[in-house]
């Protein structure tokens, strides 16, 4: 096992853990490297909670590692997560709520939410996933009020 198994600049299992083996490719949301986030920089305010959030890039990197380890489903989850990393928390919670059974009154509400994910955040995979859910929910009669 080694890094870049496909010779395409992708990460492999040999690069893992990235924080240890490839620290130069690891950075927080505002580009700060791991060395720049210390108790001192937190105390002086130059590092904030934003610097402790995972970036879409880091999620795609972990997807590469997962795929190299033969874990396609996990890699796809990381790729969906990369799309959600920039989505605000309230939108995440609204979308989750809408996906719960009986919350959406019709397929249209879900299709609209999917469109929002696609247009506003470029979350193409996630949008398709929500649209697929809408189709399944219609088929299984989930657009019914539960409370």
């Amino acid at each position: 096992m080694s890094g870049d198994p496909l010779g395409k600049g992708t990460l492999g299992t040999g690069d893992y853990p990235l924080a240890e083996k490839r620290p130069e490719v690891v950075a927080g949301r505002r580009g700060k490297g791991l060395d720049e986030v210390t108790v001192e920089t937190i105390v002086d305010g130059s590092a904030t909670i934003e610097d402790l959030r995972i970036s879409p890039r880091a999620l795609r990197q972990q997807a590469e590692v997962a795929r190299a380890a033969g874990r396609t489903a996990l890699a796809e989850n990381f790729e969906r997560a990369a799309e959600l990393a920039d989505v605000p928390q309230d939108v995440i919670m609204q979308t989750y709520e809408l996906l719960r059974p009986g919350r959406a009154a019709s397929r249209a509400a879900m299709v609209e939410a999917a469109q929002g994910l696609r247009d506003t955040y470029g979350a193409v995979r996630m949008a398709a996933f929500v649209e697929e859910a809408a189709e399944v929910y219609e088929r299984r009669g989930l657009f019914r009020s539960r409370y």
Binding site: I54, A73, A85, R100, P101
Partner: protein, 766 residues
């Protein structure tokens, strides 16, 4: 007891005895596949089948595509690897079962095949394995090599001081993960903050989760308090899924959402959840769990918590239910999921059933052996009592030592535990003060440091905690504020430890399968893969780890035994004086009974295993011999320390031909000179329960045998105590002290015994 006590009951009384055992508190259910009470053979379990047309699943496990429910659809679309499916489904299930226990078939190959198998196929394969084969296959198939464990840290008052102290304690004992929940749900934020601070004491990298309502749990994670989640529940029937207020799509969305926040996540499923919820579809526990696990893998979750979680007690009520729990854990690791392998909710009141259930996982190892080991006392466990709890933690650590198996825990001494508890209470108090959340006083803090459980504390009440929790939430306090507060109050190490944990989410390394943190490093299925390939391979205890596990509390060695004996030396030297009168010769007094004492008797060893001073034992024997009309003579032997040979040697020197052998530990025998060594007249083999009155009776009987009488033997009553377990460690060490003083051909010596406190020594004990 006589026949009159029967009271007319027409019943073997043993059943009354059995009725009183804790086991009889357990519920047991009749196997009833039509009503969902079946471990592996449900009335409606389908046989394995799969049809694929043009890269599309058209039927699966007997259901055609048009009749697929949400779960079937999700599995067909996201679990099944159609490049493998045809090959995998074609291999007879019994052959796959054999591959699972074949050390020459690599794990990777079996994982590849599993990804092409339907739920019914997976269930059919593991159903071929017996319990031992399941455990063996589990040990071969689990993803990460190094085993770990997870603790519950909760208390009945949601007291933040106790949560911090108990979290730090769990960290000290070696848990890799800590999970909390609340008695009062709105206390989630306070519990999270308290555990997060406590878990940063002592070492860095213990992952923490706050089991809460789905949306709130994610928010707590976003604030940086928690680092993983595992309550993303999945169910095996559509009806229970909807009643659980989710769908495969909503849960898959949540799975991605956790990853998008850099938070480790595993799903939860497990036998009998569907049965408890009333939507079992007359399908077996195993088949429904196979569906759950295929779904979890399909969602892209890195792992699962399964093996019967809340449903474990119900599963255990069904014939074969415990084997089924093992089988579903095997399915999880075979599918390449991290497995927190249940052994969580206590499934029996019988300690034997609990101990038996844990063993396969302890010796096979698991990513997290318990998905919730109660590190706190049972009544403080806000989930429910676990299989193992604070009460039984030492039992578990001794099991590790017995089987030389790494169960993830490390014994700790009293001082070390007290140190971390004090530190944690000071740290959380400092944080609360800095953030203006409270000002715990000394009495509150002291009560928590020494408390075994919340009954012992005089600290916060659940109502007071609600105010603290609301303040944390409303003021949007985050882990950044905690790190600053710790730093401001001089808790530098804890601030560093906490920051280390939150920084893990920047790289996301710990999002990979089966990740834990050891010695500041992420260890997962990628950089610590389980490559078991038979004896000598896979995870083995290092010499260092072995000695950690062995170092339980209260172990004996020769020095410890001698030190304990030395404590009695001075009082014995005051009570009795032994004067050597020269080589012992054969007596001629027909009333004489020789008491043959062992080499270390009264010289290095001073009391029997029952705790009687040797001077008093000797005094009772002499008094008994005199009461029986005999004359006692004491002889010390140096050629043997064995009771039988001491007794026979004494008898041969005795004028009457009857002698008593007496070891320092209190074992005593009456012998007669013409008998074979191990064919004695009377024997007290259970020294720990032999009382002074028994020794007196033995002396009296010896004198009566000397006079040719046939007295009623003295019987030392036992109530079935496991005397071997209680004493044999010490016995072996004591005996080694005795035998170290023996030498071949040593001449026996007559001893003049002079009691300086004769009055008290002649009192008989009982």
């Amino acid at each position: 007891m006589g026949a009159n006590d029967l009271g007319g009951a027409n019943r073997w009384r043993r059943f009354d005895d059995w009725d009183k055992r804790p086991l009889r508190l357990d519920n047991f259910a009749v196997e009833d596949p039509e009503n969902g009470f079946s471990a592996i053979a449900g009335a409606n379990d389908p046989g394995p089948s799969l049809s694929v047309e043009n890269g599309r699943v058209t039927s699966m496990d007997g259901t055609t595509e048009d009749a697929f429910d949400m779960i079937d659809l999700f599995i067909a679309r996201y679990h099944l690897d159609l490049t493998v499916a045809e090959e995998a489904m074609a291999i007879p299930s019994i052959d796959v079962a054999r591959m699972l226990v074949d050390i020459s078939v690599p794990r990777e190959e079996l994982v590849r095949l599993a990804h092409g198998m339907t739920p019914a196929k997976l269930a059919e394969v593991v159903a071929h394995l017996n319990a031992m084969e399941i455990a063996f296959a589990y040990s071969k198939m689990r993803a990460r090599a190094t085993p770990g464990n997870q603790a519950h840290v909760t208390n009945a008052k949601d007291d933040p001081l106790q949560l911090a102290a108990d979290a730090a304690t769990a960290v000290a004992f070696g848990f890799d993960e800590i999970e909390t929940t609340m008695r009062v749900s709105r206390n989630a934020w306070s519990n999270a903050l308290a555990c997060c601070v406590g878990a940063a004491v002592g070492r860095s990298g213990v992952l923490f989760q706050c089991s809460s309502e789905e949306a709130e749990e994610l928010q707590i994670g976003m604030a940086g308090f928690s680092s993983y989640a595992e309550t993303v529940s999945v169910y095996g029937t559509e009806g229970s899924f909807i009643d659980g207020d989710d769908t495969p799509w909503s849960k898959a969305f949540l799975t991605a959402a956790y990853a998008s926040r850099g938070i480790k996540m595993r799903c939860t499923s497990g036998a009998a959840a569907e049965l408890l919820m009333g939507f079992h579809e007359a399908k077996s526990l195993l088949y429904l769990e196979a569906r759950c696990l295929c779904m979890q893998r399909a969602m892209g979750a890195q792992g699962t918590q399964n093996g019967g979680i809340d449903g474990a007690p119900l599963a255990a009520a069904i014939p074969g239910g415990v084997r089924e729990l093992m089988a579903e854990n095997l399915l999880a690791v075979w599918l390449d999921l991290e497995c927190a392998s249940g052994n969580d909710a206590r499934s029996s009141e019988s300690e034997i059933r609990v101990g038996a259930k844990i063993l396969p996982f302890l010796i096979a190892g698991s990513d997290l052996i318990c998905s919730g080991f109660g590190s706190i006392l049972k009544y403080d466990n806000s989930f429910n009592p676990s299989s193992f709890n604070g009460e039984e933690m030492e039992d578990y650590m001794v099991l590790q030592r017995d089987f030389e198996a790494d169960g993830g825990l490390t014994p700790r001494g009293e001082d070390a535990v007290l140190d971390v508890r004090k530190r944690a209470v000071e740290a959380i108090s400092a944080v609360m003060e800095e953030l203006d959340l409270g000002a715990p006083d000394t009495a509150m803090k002291q009560s928590v440091v020494f408390a075994s459980g919340s009954d012992d504390t005089d600290s916060y009440t659940p109502g007071q905690v609600s105010g603290i929790s609301a303040a944390i939430k409303d003021r949007e306090i985050t882990v950044i504020d905690i790190i600053r507060a710790l730093h401001a109050r001089g808790f530098t190490e804890e601030a560093e430890n906490l920051l280390f944990l939150v920084k893990l989410r920047v790289s996301g390394d710990y999002l990979q399968t089966s990740a834990v943190i050891r010695d500041g490093r992420v260890l997962s299925a990628i950089n610590d893969p389980n490559r078991y390939g038979g004896p000598g391979s896979g995870y083995r205890l290092s010499a260092e780890r072995r000695s950690e596990i062995a170092a339980i509390r209260g172990v004996l060695d020769k020095r410890e035994v001698l030190r304990a004996e030395d404590a009695y030396k001075a009082s014995e030297q005051r009570a009795v004086e032994y004067t050597t009168m020269g080589a012992a010769t054969t007596g001629s007094d027909p009333d004489e009974v020789v008491i043959g004492i062992s080499p270390a008797f009264g010289l290095q060893l001073f009391r029997t295993l029952a705790g009687h001073p040797l001077s008093r034992v000797l005094a009772e024997l002499i008094a008994g011999i005199e009461a029986g009309g005999g004359h006692a003579r004491v002889v010390r032997f140096g050629h043997t320390a064995d009771t039988s040979f001491l007794g026979l040697s004494a008898a041969r020197l005795s004028g009457s031909g009857v002698g008593i052998g007496l070891q320092a530990k209190g074992t005593a025998v009456i012998h007669q000179k013409d008998r074979l060594p191990h064919n004695n007249l009377e024997l007290f083999s259970n020294a720990p329960i032999t009382q002074l009155a028994h020794y007196r009776g033995l002396g009296e009987n010896a004198a009566r045998y000397a006079h040719g009488n046939d007295p009623e033997p003295v019987v030392v009553p036992t109530r079935g105590e496991a005397l071997g377990a209680r004493f044999h460690g010490r016995v072996a060490l004591i005996y080694a002290i005795e035998t170290s003083l023996t030498s071949d051909g040593a001449v026996p010596e007559t001893i003049a015994v002079s009691f300086s406190e004769p009055a008290s020594n002649r009192e008989t004990g009982s």
